[in-house]
């Protein structure tokens, strides 16, 4: 898993290129992700990187920007 792959996944899920331009954007504040988007994110993470993140472990404060998501995933690999 590299950073680029995670960002590409986020572009697909958020349907917005802004994730690439500003990887520190708050995805929930900006309405790019919501609870439903989060589910799709968790499913995609499992499919693409084979990392299983329990929903209860997904904390919006810790997973709110593309950079933070990359960091969280790197930690779990």
């Amino acid at each position: 898993m590299d950073k680029q792959q995670v960002l590409e996944m986020l572009v697909e899920l958020c349907e917005d290129e802004i994730v690439l331009e500003n990887p520190d954007i708050d995805l929930f504040e900006e309405g790019l992700l919501d609870s439903f988007g989060t589910i799709n994110l968790l499913v995609e993470i499992e499919n693409r990187f084979n990392i299983s993140v329990p929903i209860t472990d997904f904390n919006r404060e810790e997973w709110n920007t593309p950079n933070r998501i990359v960091a969280e995933l790197a930690e779990r690999q």
Partner: protein
Amino acid sequence: MTPYGNIVFFIIIGILLLPTIILGLRGKSAKGYNIVISIVVLALIFGSSLNGSISLILFTVFQLLLIIGYQKYRSQKNNTSVFVIAVLLSILPLVLVKVLPMLGLQNLFGFLGVSYITFKSVQMILETRDGLIKDKISPVELAYFLLFFPTVSSGPIDRWRRFYKDMHTAPSGQDYQKLLLSGINYIFVGFLYKFILAYLIYNYTLIYLPSQTYNYLTPFQGQIAYMYMYSFYLFFDFAGYSAFAVGVSRIMGVQTPINFNRPFSSRNIKDFWNRWHMSLSFWFRDYVYMRFVLWMTKKKWIKNKYTVSYIGFFLLFFLMGIWHGLELHYVVYGLYHALLIISFDKFERWNKKRKLWPKNKWTHAIGVFITFNAVCFGFYIFSGTLF
């Protein structure tokens, strides 16, 4: 004694908390002492009814055995049916409390706060299932969490892993001082909201509404006035209570999550549920909606993922509705909000493609106006005056 119901309650907990504050300012943990005073305050709250006290004790022991027992089981095996049985058992007392009165057995079982303790208990079983609670749990600490007196009667609903961290860290004297000041600040916000604003709204408007308006208002205007006044009353009363609970928690070194974040300034209905009774709506979001949608997505029984999401919203709001009570107006209240969220979600996706509703201060203001009125109408249903 009702928690935060009168000045005597505040004086008692004020005195009981003095050693907590002194220990805190010296940078020491007051956990042991706080557990002791919790028992005292719980006895004050529940002691007046023998039936209530016995129910509470039996209920708590039942939940403790269930959580610790399930955790023991989970450390060896992970069978789905055992998990489902554990969850059903933990909500069984709450279901009985709601259903027994309908069978004419209201005094058999039931006490203040039963649903809020159930939320915490179910949450622990779900997180244990997810493998997030692995360390051995002390029954005393677990009981302290479930029965944490500042929040025992009506929340906010805290989470174990967060609570656990607070319980096991003693902030430095300086940090505690900040916590103490913000706690006191919350308590004064509570006084303003509950004992001044909610009190005034109730005694000067609500008791005359909707019909005893001495002919100042037409019946229709009376209903409209009732709708808005009831909404404000509900907010100030509950946000006031929640501020007390958050404030007292902080003095005890526990940063109980806030319940309200300016809900009437929400720009849309999703935003509203991130600001109104937050600890409850986040509980339903995380433990009902998201789990349901993820489960359905993995099973692939329904192709369209939006359909799954909408069924999830219906489930969430239906449960939230009947949690308030099994009366028709609560059910309709829940379904009404499900409908609002789904409609907004459809609009949001439609707008993402066409971009006809831009993001600027004008659309923001219109959004706040529409949301405010839609929400007030929801509370009007909730009040039970409509039917």
